[in-house]
């Protein structure tokens, strides 16, 4: 994707520089920051494991989602999750889960997906706000670089041809078929839309709804958080966005595995991507 077209011939194809240094560095910093933000965020959620819609938590309406305890058979304690009024048992993962020593403990999300392991709200907040800065500053560098180098315009904005090929691309994805040769040098149209949605919709939304929970940032333009339906709605959207990002990450990594994990990950680490030309040492 980088402008640098310097090629190294290898048997059956060639290597070229696909990703610029800035994209590679910001990508991996982002992966680390987002992992920590997710895990410390779930730990913060554990302090009050319920989500609401509206300007406050106590509006007269029940939470849209809550995770808690209930009495199970034979006086046992079970973990339950209630979504939109429907309660399901989630013992083992949500509500009640085993701690590091294997003892059942009452907590919304289990220890292995929170930072730190323990229920320790102030520490989770320290992690979350530190890495929020890492994430935002890193994201700004990525955005400025992407605009200034025309990386977004050149590599991520879908072209007319891309749009016309959407049907074919969907079919290819369903058949787990991926472009080879010269065509593999460009992001496909679904990939472009996924990146656009993450970079320009979900990530900005997660930042805004995060700021929307800050009482001080709320005050800067009183009422702006009502754009999201109120402060508690912003918290709910923040939570949903976090899981959309997890979903994206899973699909993203799955696609890389299907399309050739090694080649793609190498290209995101060293920059070098291998294009198969079929002919040994070919230069086509």
């Amino acid at each position: 994707m980088a402008a640098d077209e310097t090629r190294t011939e290898v048997p059956g194809g060639y290597l070229y520089r696909r990703h610029s240094l800035a994209v590679r560095i910001t990508h991996w910093i982002n992966v680390a920051a987002m992992t920590i933000l997710l895990m410390s965020g779930l730990a913060i959620f554990n302090a009050h494991p319920a989500l609401y819609w509206g300007k406050s938590s106590y509006t007269g309406r029940p939470p849209v989602l809550s995770i808690g305890l209930a009495e199970g058979p034979d006086d046992s304690v079970i973990g339950v999750t209630t979504i939109a009024g429907r309660t399901i048992e989630t013992t083992g993962v949500l509500g009640v889960s085993n701690d590091r020593k294997g003892e059942p403990s009452a907590r919304a999300f289990p220890w292995w997906i929170t930072i730190p392991d323990d229920l320790w709200l102030s520490m989770s907040r320290s992690w979350h706000f530190f890495f929020a800065w890492v994430f935002v500053l890193n994201g700004l560098i990525y955005l400025v670089h992407g605009l200034a180098s025309r990386h977004f315009a050149r590599d991520i904005a879908p072209t007319g041809g891309d749009l016309r090929g959407i049907g074919a691309s969907i079919r290819d994805h369903l058949l787990l078929r991926h472009p080879r040769g010269e065509a593999s040098k460009r992001y496909n149209v679904l990939q472009k839309f996924a990146y656009l949605a993450i970079v320009f919709v979900v990530l900005p939304l997660v930042v805004l709804t995060g700021l929307g929970m800050s009482p001080w940032m709320n005050a800067v333009w009183p009422g702006w958080v009502d754009l999201f339906g109120g402060r508690q709605s912003a918290r709910t959207i923040h939570f949903v966005c976090a899981w959309l990002l997890v979903l994206f990450a899973f699909v993203h990594v799955f696609q890389l595995v299907v399309a050739g994990a090694w080649n793609h990950v190498r290209s995101m680490v060293t920059g070098r991507y291998r294009v198969d030309t079929g002919s040994a040492g070919g230069t086509s």
Partner: protein
């Protein structure tokens, strides 16, 4: 490079990655309990505060309409201070309660509840955001802290208002709650010592006879059962040295986020 080498290298990298992930999972807990890492994390706190001051030093917290009021205002933390001194104050309808204002002030003062009620007041419907993540909307009426400070005349070196409270945080009746705010917040238009909640005298569960409202910060800043306002230059020598009961437990002093 031979194919075998390449496969070995890949396997090594995959294992290294797995080990790294496992180590970082365990590492986050270790780092959290280390003496140095939390300091690194908390180095972001001044940044949060600086940004807040930059974008909204005088900004007014959102105010709501009666339609937004929470059906009942949730009580959190202490619901009834468990000391003889507080029980005696309560039994006498807070007749003997005095708000003491001292420390770095030209004119140390004390107010009875009636005197507090006679001060310039403000009524506001605001949202209370708890650090845990929930919020509730209530209607508060109280004496403007700026009016109290104007009467007490802080000395030039006064930088913080420490709020001393009547509620003990330990079972044995010690560890009285306290908080501190800077003078920007203390003089803010919406910062009040509230004595009414939803048009009735402040209930005991919500901090009777008076509690602080500092609307742009999280709930733990809004100290309940207020007894004394002390103006200080620094809170470093006070109790745990971090400016508040929860701050001494590791919570952030700047609670605008």
């Amino acid at each position: 490079m031979k194919l075998g080498d390449r496969r070995k290298r890949r396997r090594f990298l995959a294992r290294a990655f797995g080990a790294l992930a496992a180590a970082s999972l365990a590492g986050c807990q270790k780092l959290s309990t280390s003496s140095w890492f939390p300091k690194v994390l908390d180095s972001a706190e001044p940044l949060n505060e600086a940004m807040a001051k930059l974008v909204g030093r005088r900004a007014m917290a959102q105010e709501f309409t009666p339609a937004d009021l929470s059906p009942s205002f949730r009580s959190n933390g202490t619901a009834m201070p468990d000391t003889d001194a507080y029980r005696a104050l309560l039994a006498a309808g807070f007749d003997q309660w005095r708000l003491v204002v001292d420390g770095l002030v030209a004119k140390p003062l004390s107010y009875s509840l009636d005197e507090l009620r006679a001060l310039p007041s403000r009524t506001q419907i605001t949202r209370h955001d708890c650090v845990e993540g929930w919020s509730a909307i209530g209607k508060w009426r109280g004496a403007r802290l700026s009016a109290i400070l104007a009467q007490a005349a802080p000395k030039p070196n006064a930088r913080y208002v420490v709020v001393h409270c009547a509620d003990p945080m330990e079972e044995d009746g010690t560890g009285l709650y306290y908080e501190s705010i800077d003078l920007d917040d203390a003089n803010h238009e919406q910062t009040i010592l509230a004595y009414d909640l939803n048009d009735a005298p402040l209930p005991v569960a919500n901090g009777a006879p008076a509690r602080l409202r500092v609307e742009r910060q999280l709930g733990y800043k809004h100290a309940k059962y207020v007894m004394r306002l002390e103006l200080v230059e620094s809170f470093a020598a006070l109790r745990g040295g971090r400016g508040g009961y929860w701050e001494d437990q590791g919570y952030q002093w700047y609670a605008g986020i």
